[in-house]
């Protein structure tokens, strides 16, 4: 019996120490985690590193006629630019996986998007982009996105798709969604 008591005490002490070590390890892991969620579910002001989104210093917004839709905004490569209804009031609600399907038209911090022919420069602006960590180009205060399904320039396959919780529309040069056709 006399030998059992010290053994029990050692076991209890070992268990307490183990529990303390576990708690400490968990806290350290949480503090050092590179995935600590920042605003909008990303890695904070640096953006979402897992998305690997580029943010060039020069962004030009242009126009192009897309069959069936008329004149729409495009990026410098002729890819149609879209707006997302839930982004009303100058917010970026498409983040994470949504930003894969709808890559934001990102621009480097401190840079200003340029208006091409037919684009109203006064409508252009920027908002902080939680995806790239840079800024997202806006038009009429709506963030602009491309669509992953537009693998070629001059198409607007994302027009009027209801995806990621809302409808998507190509943006017209007058700052309104194109709703006339699909």
């Amino acid at each position: 019996m006399s030998g059992a008591v010290p053994a029990l005490a050692v076991a209890v002490v070992a268990a307490v120490v183990a529990a303390l070590v576990a708690v400490l390890v968990a806290l350290l892991a949480a503090c050092g985690s590179p995935k600590a969620a920042g605003p909008n579910g990303t890695n904070g002001p640096a953006g979402d590193a897992l998305l690997q989104l580029p943010a060039p210093t020069q962004v030009v917004v242009q126009t192009r006629i897309v069959p069936g839709l008329g004149t729409v905004l495009t990026d410098s490569t002729g890819h149609t630019l879209y707006m997302f209804s839930p982004d009303a009031r100058s917010r970026v609600s498409c983040t994470g996986s949504c930003a894969g399907t709808w890559p934001p038209l990102a621009v480097a911090k401190g840079s200003t998007p340029t208006a091409g022919s037919g684009v109203e420069a006064s409508q252009l602006g920027t908002l902080a982009d939680p995806n790239s960590g840079a800024d997202i180009t806006t038009y009429a205060r709506y963030p602009l996105y491309r669509y992953a399904g537009d693998v070629s320039a001059g198409t607007a396959n994302g027009q009027h798709l209801f995806l990621n919780g809302g409808p998507w529309y190509a943006m017209s040069p007058d700052g309104t969604p194109v709703v006339a056709a699909e």
Partner: protein
């Protein structure tokens, strides 16, 4: 939408599943219990199902293939609906609508979003996969448009009575059958290529650290968009679709000896 309550957008710090594993690992090491260590790594001989705090995070490929399993079951439902349309029989509109809505929400918005955000960009610059990735992107788009068409038609009259009378309802049944057949024909090889080429390529091209981060991200996004126990609830909805179409008993697919 990405701003729901309890999302990863929440400013409060989350303790990730990997962090929990790390902490649990510390407990195991501190206590010197090697059997529990085996549970953490999935090895050992105890079966390892009695420690609910220790759950391995599925790898990105495993997670995506599980989601493909959901899609496969919906493809079976689509095929059953197509067979009913061909036979001039009733199609349970609720089953078709719920199946198509699952495709829109879970497969096309979520699963394909994960691929387009985190998988395809990591392979597209590799000339061995560039053309394949482009084909998969085009197919995602075609699928989304087919789903929009299926949802629009499925809300109409799909009864056998409509098949007998020339007119818009019969035309709609014909169009629906074409859309369902096209969807199934495209997605069977689509997911097979992703399972056998794309996901292994992702694994080969990505460091273990990033794969772990992707696994965490996939789990976080699923919970954020669909809540806790998301997969179980999605599978329950699929089972409901199967029930309405007489597909719920797996035994019925087994051939007689």
């Amino acid at each position: 939408m990405n701003d729901s309550a309890g999302s990863i957008n929440s400013p409060r710090r989350r303790v990730s599943r990997r962090t929990m594993l790390f902490g649990a690992g510390g407990l195991v090491i501190g206590a010197g219990v090697t059997e529990s260590a085996n549970l953490l790594t999935g090895s050992g001989s105890s079966g390892g199902s009695d420690d609910s705090a220790v759950v391995a995070v599925p790898s990105p490929g495993e997670e995506l293939m599980t989601e493909h399993g959901v899609l496969k079951r919906i493809l079976l439902a689509y095929r059953a609906c197509s067979d009913r349309l061909a036979a001039g029989a009733d199609v349970p509109a609720g089953a078709l609508l719920d199946g198509a809505q699952l495709v829109a929400d879970y497969v096309e918005s979520f699963h394909e979003g994960l691929e387009e955000a985190y998988v395809f960009p990591r392979l597209r610059a590799d000339s061995r996969y560039a053309a394949l990735i482009e084909t998969l992107l085009v197919q995602h788009d075609r699928g989304r448009h087919l789903t929009a068409g299926i949802l629009a038609v499925a809300a109409g009259d799909l009864s056998a009575r409509a098949a007998d009378v020339p007119g818009p309802a019969r035309s709609a049944r014909t169009a629906l059958k074409t859309q369902l057949d096209q969807f199934v024909r495209m997605y069977e090889p689509h997911e097979a290529w992703e399972d056998t080429v794309v996901y292994p390529a992702l694994r080969a091209a990505t460091s273990g650290r990033v794969l772990n981060e992707l696994a965490e991200r996939f789990a976080d996004e699923e919970n954020r968009q669909f809540g806790d126990a998301a997969l179980a609830r999605i599978v329950q909805r699929v089972a409901g679709v199967e029930q309405q179409l007489g597909l719920a008993d797996l035994n019925t697919f087994t051939p007689n000896p």
